[in-house]
């Protein structure tokens, strides 16, 4: 009986993924934004880096290398912005999907189905990986065509490995956000705030050592920190698969912690919703 239920839930999870894939196909104009921002946002920061470094002044670049471990400012920025874009698609996509269903009036109907509540919580995350891979390809091409930085094949493959290792933790974090935002309602400001805070904490545009000690402590508990550090290690410092083992281990551990936390928060909100009937209100 339990096996049947699990199979049914997995089928429902597949259907939820198929639904979000279909929605993604229906709005092809979204791909324009997914080309524009991953190219131009980091490009502006690379030019800011040129302004701050005096066009590559040796002293300034040495100072940057002391803090970041590399003089490759262009790739440093592009890797950081790959995470920024991932966070954007994660928070605006799966992170707000429950709230969007609530606004459309379909959340109550979904909750009346006999599938596990975890299906609507984790289902929308399945196709978000399409955007992540698409943005990585766009940014890889941009850094090559605009700044002449050619990525090594081994580095590209290991980048994909780090990305795959980071997926569970990132999506667990997105689901936690999605569950929490259902309670507070204000999606736009919440996305802006969380994305802004994670951008500051996880070393996206500047080396983490620039943060005060307490903030560095918080950043050590965030999955994006390890994904960014892992990819920078691979592309800028020639890290090997063996060097990545601790990063992968930490990311899997964080996936369990964030995933469990998301489920607990979701269960609490669900129980509260049953009592107060808040699912239909917004």
């Amino acid at each position: 009986m339990n096996a049947e239920l699990v199979t049914a839930d997995l089928r429902a999870l597949g259907a939820a993924g198929q639904m979000s894939l279909r929605q993604l196909r229906r709005y092809p104009a979204n791909f324009i934004g997914q080309i524009f921002w991953p190219v131009l946002l980091p490009a502006v920061w690379v030019l800011m880096g040129q302004a701050y470094s005096g066009g590559g002044d040796a002293q300034a670049l040495d100072a940057f290398a002391t803090r970041s471990g590399t003089t490759g400012v262009t790739l440093f920025v592009f890797v950081g912005y790959a995470m920024y874009m991932w966070l954007s698609t994660l928070l605006w996509g799966p992170g707000t999907s429950l709230r969007v269903e609530q606004l459309r009036g379909s959340l109550e109907a979904v909750f009346l189905t006999p599938v596990s509540r975890l299906v609507p919580l984790f289902g929308p995350t399945l196709t978000n990986v399409v955007w992540v891979l698409f943005q990585l390809v766009v940014m890889g091409l941009a850094v090559w065509l605009m700044f002449g930085v050619v990525l090594p094949l081994e580095g590209i493959l290991l980048t994909l490995l780090v990305t795959l290792a980071g997926l569970p933790a990132m999506y667990a974090m997105g689901s936690l956000f999605g569950a929490a935002v259902l309670r507070f309602g204000e999606v736009g400001p919440a996305v802006q705030f969380v994305r802004g805070a994670l951008s500051l904490l996880c070393g996206i545009t500047f080396p983490i050592v620039m943060l005060p000690g307490w903030a560095q402590g918080v950043s050590a508990a965030m999955p994006p920190t390890y994904v960014v550090a892992g990819i920078r290690g691979v592309l800028l410092k020639g890290a090997t698969p063996l060097d990545l083992v601790p990063t992968v281990g930490i990311l899997l551990g964080l996936a369990l912690v964030f995933g469990a936390f998301a489920v607990v928060v979701f269960r609490i909100l669900e129980a509260s919703a049953r009592r107060s009937g808040m699912l239909g209100r917004y």
Partner: protein, 273 residues
């Protein structure tokens, strides 16, 4: 006089509308700080040698990182007011269903943009005073007294941006999904004006675009007066270029706006989006 009263009434309505959403007002002050200023300051400081951003000094003639970034924010905010508060507000009225009744009033259509400009400038001024005060208290932001000499340049650039807002409003009224358009062009306009870095760092093919924007000169004059940075051109040429681009921007914007007004009335698309 009637049109002035109408513009003031529109501005008053916009100010009242925005003031009702206090969380949004607070966000308009803090979002640029934690999403733009703080990351840029920490990124710039990571190039510092002995606490001094020597690279920036080499590029623009001053190592005042905070001043450079905060003043970039002033011009970015001015551009954003033209793009979002003046032009995009037409789309917001479309969505709330109030644009058609507004179009039926005897007020000149051009006044609708001017009213939004006044309302937008109020919130721009309010936000900038708050942001610069935070900069002064927490980031050691200090300007030279000569900064006041840049105010005429900012005033002229504001007039030019009203012209740009007319042009943008024409486009917003003509296309169905304006959000991506406004968001991306706002970013490009502010970037090409030198808000984030000096325009001489732009690739050669993009530099003529930067020099065709009035805000590029306003940005340059403001940083020169307030921080003592090197000017791109000599002061007389900068003011002449600022005036020339303003004189061009206003009639082009008005022409496009009137053409869009005629088009949507002919096609009956004012309530479609």
């Amino acid at each position: 006089m009637d049109e002035l009263r109408a513009a003031l009434a529109i501005a008053q309505k916009d100010i009242r509308n925005v003031s009702r959403y206090r969380f949004s007002v607070a966000a308009s002050i803090f979002t640029p700080l934690y999403q733009g200023v703080l990351p840029a300051l920490l990124f710039g400081a990571s190039f510092a040698v002995g606490g001094k951003v020597v690279g920036l000094e080499k590029t623009i003639g001053t190592a005042d990182l905070a001043g450079f970034i905060f003043l970039g924010g002033v011009v970015s905010g001015l551009v954003a007011t033209a793009f979002w508060a003046m032009a995009m507000s037409f789309r917001n009225e479309m969505e709330t269903g109030t644009l058609e009744p507004t179009w039926l009033t005897p007020t000149a259509r051009e006044t609708l943009v001017l009213g939004r400009a006044l309302g937008g400038m109020f919130w721009f001024g309010f936000g900038q005073i708050a942001i610069l005060a935070i900069g002064a208290v927490f980031f050691g932001l200090r300007f030279r007294l000569e900064a006041v000499y840049a105010l005429p340049a900012l005033a002229i650039a504001t007039v030019a941006l009203v012209g740009v807002a007319y042009l943008l409003a024409a486009i917003v009224l003509s296309i169905r999904d304006a959000t991506l358009f406004i968001d991306s062009t706002n970013f490009l306009f502010a970037t090409a004006s030198g808000a984030a870095f000096p325009v001489v760092l732009l690739p050669g093919v993009l530099q003529p675009i930067a020099f065709a924007l009035p805000t590029t000169y306003a940005m340059d004059i403001l940083r020169n007066q307030a921080l003592g940075t090197r000017l791109l051109l000599d002061p007389v040429t900068e003011y002449a270029a600022l005036l020339a681009t303003t004189i061009i921007a206003l009639p082009i914007g008005l022409w496009a706006f009137r053409a869009a007004d005629r088009r949507i009335r002919r096609l009956g698309t004012i309530n479609q989006y």
